[in-house]
């Protein structure tokens, strides 16, 4: 039994914002109320901290099976716990690709044995994510996938996307697309613009993402499917999503912390600024922030993409795309969105909890009977992020050494504390 006392409970679904206690028993929440007592319970004093439903990361790469040099389910989920996440959705671009039930089961079993947080795999849409034949999506659903994607790449053709949408609709699975037009992307390494011109790096026009997002939204209109746009980075894509939502379509989208924090102007010859989709323009960033505020954007997702140190220590155009993100996501959200008075704390919590849950067709709340997943964080704890302290195997982040105010303080999954900052989870940390 675990009793979380004196915390400020923020529960979006019930619109609760009050100092309350949360009692967990076994793997579930037993009770939420004022001044609870439970003599046998372990006490966790959350005075001065915020107590929220457990965070969900819709988009990450755990690299297992096949790329364990960069990350494993064990190390990745430990980093996720440190970031306050209680559940993570891992993308299928492993080796082998997670395009069949056996691979899905392998991931689920490994997570049960060695994972610190819940791992909900996303299955490939096509075999090997090659964009030709449909993967065995139904079998994978039985094995535990929560969505379908060919992430790393777009779902290759309009024809295939339509088939995937039709099929997934019948299985009640969302289709997640990494929107990109390969012919426009063609060897690019950063966003096309004045900065790419100055640095002499091959640019990718925003239209690469926008054209594909438009295709997907129109196909969603045709099929009625649940479409989720992964790591959306442009105002052009956001406009399609807004149009879709207004038309009543079940179209959702996520934005990464680096896309609402950085722009292409931040890029220099440092591969920690190279990711896909690339850092976008100021106008895009501002539009994404606006979308996060007004509800057009449903979730913040990290797209945690670890690459072992050697692989990123190369020339910019040869480096793989991607940066890590579990441990800085909340802090970037607090500093970039809440402390700047752009969104409320409650809204930020939505973006990490109810938003992602809704995309997956579930609910996230702090109420009796719910899974015992809780994220406790501070809105002002001062700390400096050091990549070398991370349990992740990889160090590819542009935020190493950055000072923040606000941090995850404790993470509870199925009633167990899987992360606690310092010795005690209190404001003194």
């Amino acid at each position: 039994m675990l009793l979380i006392k004196n915390g400020r409970v923020l529960d979006p679904l019930s619109r609760t914002d009050a100092v309350l206690d949360v009692l967990l028993e076994g793997e579930r929440i037993a009770k939420v109320g004022a001044n609870l007592s439970a003599p046998d319970a372990e006490i966790l004093d959350a005075k001065g901290l915020i107590v929220a439903p457990g965070f969900i990361d819709l988009h990450c790469h755990l690299r297992e099976p096949g790329q364990e040099m960069s990350e494993t389910i064990e190390t990745g989920t430990r980093a996720a716990a440190r970031g306050g996440f209680t559940a993570v959705c891992c993308m299928p671009n492993t080796q082998p690709v997670n395009d069949r039930a056996s691979v899905t089961r392998g991931i689920v079993e490994r997570a049960a044995a060695a994972g610190s947080v819940r791992v909900w795999p996303i299955g490939a849409a096509s075999e090997g994510s090659q964009g030709e034949a449909l993967a065995e999506i139904a079998a994978m659903k039985d094995a535990g996938i929560v969505a379908v994607s060919d992430d790393g790449k777009p779902i290759a053709t309009a024809r295939l996307m339509r088939q995937v949408m039709d099929y997934c609709l019948s299985l009640d699975l969302p289709v997640i697309d990494h929107c990109e037009d390969p012919s426009l992307f063609a060897g690019g390494v950063m966003r096309e613009g004045p900065t790419s011109m100055r640095l002499g790096l091959k640019g990718i026009p925003a239209q690469s993402e926008i054209i594909c997002a438009g295709r997907d939204v129109k196909l969603a209109a045709l099929t009625g499917a649940r479409l989720h746009i992964a790591h959306m980075s442009t105002v052009g894509s956001l406009e399609y999503v807004r149009f879709a939502k207004k038309s009543g379509m079940r179209v959702t989208c996520e934005v990464t912390p680096h896309h609402f924090t950085l722009t292409d102007e931040d890029v220099r010859y440092d591969t920690n600024y190279k990711m896909n989709p690339p850092l976008a323009s100021q106008a895009d960033r501002q539009a994404l922030v606006q979308g996060l505020a007004d509800g057009s954007v449903d979730a913040i997702a990290t797209d945690h993409a670890p690459h072992h140190p050697g692989s990123k220590d190369v020339e910019f155009d040869r480096a793989p795309f991607g940066i890590t993100g579990f441990e800085t996501a909340l802090a970037l959200g607090l500093s970039g969105l809440v402390h700047s008075d752009t969104i409320s704390l409650m809204r930020l919590v939505e973006l990490f909890t109810t938003g992602p849950a809704r995309v997956l067709g579930m609910e996230r709340k702090l109420a009796a009977g719910e899974p015992g997943d809780v994220t406790i964080f501070s809105n002002d704890y001062p700390w400096t992020f050091r990549a070398s302290d991370s349990p992740s195997k990889s160090r590819n982040t542009p935020f190493d050494g950055r000072a923040f105010r606000g941090a995850p303080m404790a993470t509870i999954v199925a009633g167990r504390i899987v992360y606690r900052r310092g010795a005690t989870a209190s404001a003194k940390g």
Partner: protein, 323 residues
């Protein structure tokens, strides 16, 4: 006194004063090329590593000659030879270089930012001999020296750059350099190779679709070669290019009478430039080669010569020749 140059990675971060200093310092080395005995002991005992990851004969020989004339030794690392296996990571090459302890590194590489990569990891002066489509600073400096010698100044000139500008690091360096001297820069080439963002690189710069308009009132015409090896896009037919973009004697007449024509080389005579223009009185291509040697000697002298920055100054007062 000018801040000591540590590396030459690009023109972008040089001030107008630093550029002028380099051009002024190139003058004695221009004169030096006329000495009967072209050998100094100035950099004797120093070693310059020439790390050419991209094939290059002209620039490499120019740097090698510059180093040799200053009395330095050179280490030749070429992509084709066993010292730089194709595909060997840049980091491994950096480690190899570090172990050989050169006093200066000249690097040409197909990745933009490769010289910066090396400079960030080694305590050795790095000279960029061309990185990807980013910059080729010594080319721009020798172009500027050539123009300044012929026109007496750089300020206020009308500079037209012709050809495949998108893929040209020479063009970018030229734009950066001439842009710092109050020139008016006109870009002209096939439209897909002259994108709008190029206009952000200098204060007074614009694109011109027609070569005739681009040449009007030009004082300086820089003709670029067609970059067949750097194109990721569908190629343009040669006839199309010649029809709309070749610098012919007739088109050259549209420029100012004393206009000078530059080309970074190697030229494809009959493609971007008519042979009569290439060999004509207004062409500066041979001076460009000589000036390349002078500029590179001046740069090697200043960057590679000299003790480490934190070495104690040897001024024990033994020499009266302080100036």
């Amino acid at each position: 006194m000018l801040q000591r140059l540590e590396h030459l990675l690009g023109i972008e971060n040089l001030t107008r004063e630093q550029i002028t200093f380099i051009l002024d310092q190139s003058k004695p080395f221009q004169e030096f090329q006329r000495h009967p005995l072209k050998k100094l002991a100035t950099l004797r005992g120093k070693t310059v590593a020439l790390a050419f990851f991209e094939p290059s004969t002209r620039t490499r020989i120019s740097f090698a000659t510059a180093a040799a004339r200053l009395g330095a030794d050179t280490m030749n690392l070429q992509a084709e030879s066993s010292s730089l296996k194709k595909g060997e990571s840049l980091l491994d090459t950096v480690r190899t270089l570090e172990a050989m302890r050169p006093d200066g590194i000249v690097i040409r590489h197909s990745s933009s930012g490769a010289p910066h990569f090396v400079a960030a990891r080694l305590e050795v002066p790095v000279l960029n001999a061309g990185d990807g489509t980013h910059e080729h600073p010594t080319q721009a400096l020798l172009d500027a020296l050539t123009v300044r010698d012929r026109k007496g100044k750089l300020e206020g000139l009308n500079v037209s750059i012709l050809g495949d500008i998108l893929h040209s690091r020479v063009a970018r360096s030229d734009i950066q350099l001439f842009g710092k001297f109050g020139t008016r820069i006109t870009l002209c080439g096939p439209a897909m190779w002259v994108p709008r963002e190029l206009e952000t690189l200098a204060p007074n710069i614009h694109r011109e679709a027609r070569i005739e308009r681009a040449l009007e009132d030009a004082d300086v015409i820089i003709v670029l070669r067609v970059q067949t090896e750097r194109m990721h896009e569908p190629a343009l037919a040669a006839e199309e290019f010649i029809l709309r973009h070749q610098l012919t004697p007739e088109r050259l007449k549209l420029a100012r009478p004393e206009a000078v024509v530059l080309h970074p080389g190697p030229m494809i005579r009959g493609l971007e430039i008519d042979p009569r223009v290439a060999d004509g009185a207004q062409s500066c291509v041979l001076e460009q080669v000589t000036n390349g040697l002078a500029v590179r000697m001046a740069l090697l002298y200043h960057l590679v010569g000299g003790a480490p920055v934190d070495a104690p100054h040897p001024a024990k007062g033994r020499s009266n020749a302080a100036d």
